[in-house]
Symmetry: C2
Subunit: 424 residues, 2 copies
Amino acid sequence: MTKTVKVGMLGLGTVGGGVFKVLRNFDNIEIKKIAVNNINKDRNIEGLNKDILTANPDEIVNDKEISILIEVIGGIEPAYSLIKQAIANKKHIITANKELIAKYGKELFNLAKENNVVILYEAAVAGGIPIIMPIKTSLAANKFSNVAAILNGTTNYILTKMEKDGADFASVLKEAQELGYAEADPTNDVQGYDAAYKICILATIIFNKRCDVNKIFIEGIDKITPVDIEYARDLGYKIKLIALARESKGGKIDVRVHPMLVPLSQPLAHINNVLNAVVLNGHPVGQVMFSGPGAGEFPTASSVVGDILSLVQEIKYTDYPLPMMRCRHDETAVHLDIEETTNKYYISVNTANTPGVLGELGQIFGRNNINLTSIIQKGILEDGSARIVLLTEDALEKNVNKAINEITKLGVTKKILNILRVMD
Amino acid sequence: MTKTVKVGMLGLGTVGGGVFKVLRNFDNIEIKKIAVNNINKDRNIEGLNKDILTANPDEIVNDKEISILIEVIGGIEPAYSLIKQAIANKKHIITANKELIAKYGKELFNLAKENNVVILYEAAVAGGIPIIMPIKTSLAANKFSNVAAILNGTTNYILTKMEKDGADFASVLKEAQELGYAEADPTNDVQGYDAAYKICILATIIFNKRCDVNKIFIEGIDKITPVDIEYARDLGYKIKLIALARESKGGKIDVRVHPMLVPLSQPLAHINNVLNAVVLNGHPVGQVMFSGPGAGEFPTASSVVGDILSLVQEIKYTDYPLPMMRCRHDETAVHLDIEETTNKYYISVNTANTPGVLGELGQIFGRNNINLTSIIQKGILEDGSARIVLLTEDALEKNVNKAINEITKLGVTKKILNILRVMD
């Protein structure tokens, strides 16, 4: 008979409930204890024996019989302290906590190494989509030049809905909140922090150097208007919140999260609603894409339980499990400043409707070494002014900022409406 | 210093050359010997020392220093005999040989189990796309209900090109042969055998029962005409060669390879040219898709070397490596006969252009319990006859065959032009 492995769990919310329901099907794994805030809460989880619930997580992290700790509470504390204590007690860790791994990965992986245990976190990036394990194993022969991804379902839902209905950001956000697709305080999703934690984790793995989450350039989607989406469509693009990581000249890494115009020829343009997707470019593989559900009770449970099963199989046979899955990135990455990055740009300007405006704009871009590929002026706004939309060729961000600064000072300029980066 | 693992390789063609070039970057792995047909052939591979070439593969499979055998010759013999000998000599096997694993997987995996070695074959399905490792590890918690995939780049290229240019099968095939995208004898690709080997391997893994390659229903793409592609487009579909595996009522498995009309709302409709893609549906994950290059020197090498690196890491620490990757499907699957499957159908019929034809067809379908969703008759053919295209709702294949038989016997019927299955 197979030896039963005993696991303990911190948290029994949406993800924890999913993990419990899935793990119940595997006879060789016993959930010995689950730490929750409120033992008496009615949880409506079939098969849950309330005797295994505890309000004291120390009972789990210090339990000698428990060999694997599953952390699904999220956030930094108390997760961080409890995981450190569990590692010191030689327990393997499986977590869905992107914020914790992004911010404290270095400390935790070092501690895990000292204690000869592993930390697995497939569920922390892109929910149910297998991505960390494939990069570390099947794709291990590759040197990756860049990854581009849609890693936040809430913002992808909002942008998809804005595009479909021609509605503005605020009203779609409100609707998404009512449907439960966006949280009451949507800052974490809408401003790009959630995607930043995830791309930080991916960048660290693909470049084998620790990405600093505080150095990731972040812009949210709240500045996107239905007019931008319409112009983008006319030009052959969709607007998506893209998490990017590239290796640039000199070995610096360029990691950021911001809205982008994505050409319809790119697979990411067709990832809609709450779906996530990760596109990896590397040698020898070329380009591969993984897509699927990036969040939710069961997709996240799929990744958490996948990690548990992989680990349980290994610890039957070896004291040094999953060597390929261990973190070996002691080196700290140097980040490229956003000002030094090269991008194509979409620039929307509101100007007076007078002759010579296009000429003045053209001169400014020329002086700043920026070539334009499209200039669109459609009709006249209600107040008699003009909206001019420009697309640039590749240009240095700092040159674009200089040009925008000059345009702002032009007498004919009423307002810079939007500046967005454009994917190749 | 890391211990060097010695590997031997059978074959140095396109894939073998790629593996050699990629593996050279890893110091801890030494390619000790490579068996080739012609030692003196000029190979133009940088860094290749001809002293490691041998015309005698026994030198490799019997070499005690070699712990991993990489087989990249393809086909059944001599690969099968050499691999069996190597396993008996306690060597781990890494292969890209889909035909061998599909036809002789049972024998080989049993032999590997007896000898406590592993057989890894990530490259055998979908080239550079990680699919086998993710199913066995990150997705291990799932019960899969079905997989639908584009697994042959040659046919996907031909269908994409036929669609784009409105050209017929024969002329596009000729062009593909000239470009090197199709082989001189294209039977293996065009008739669906290549895709059948691959879906056989996938079905075995996802259902955990051995799929019998001889019981896979196979239809090729040579019967697809530009007119079918045009009608499909008008109806909102693309035509793709789809490899399918489903579990049906009673636990039988339904595995097949045939052209299908794929709705534009499905991600597989947008996989073009030589790309491959695999869509998995399971619980708890839901639907995930993996796409990328399904063949070629470097993508295939990515998977072969990924397997090697995963295995090399493990055998440093354990005598029972990669337990999750081992095959544990002793059970043989029972296949559902194609006659018993339920599908939607696209049926194209050439009839006399007389009143009442649609009524006669409608009566036949009704008698056979088949509901129609669309009937299209556009214009008249050059000879004055009519082309009628019908789409059905879900229907039993044997009922459709009965209906077609009755239609053939109708006085007004000139020819059944095509019958294709339609994806939901």
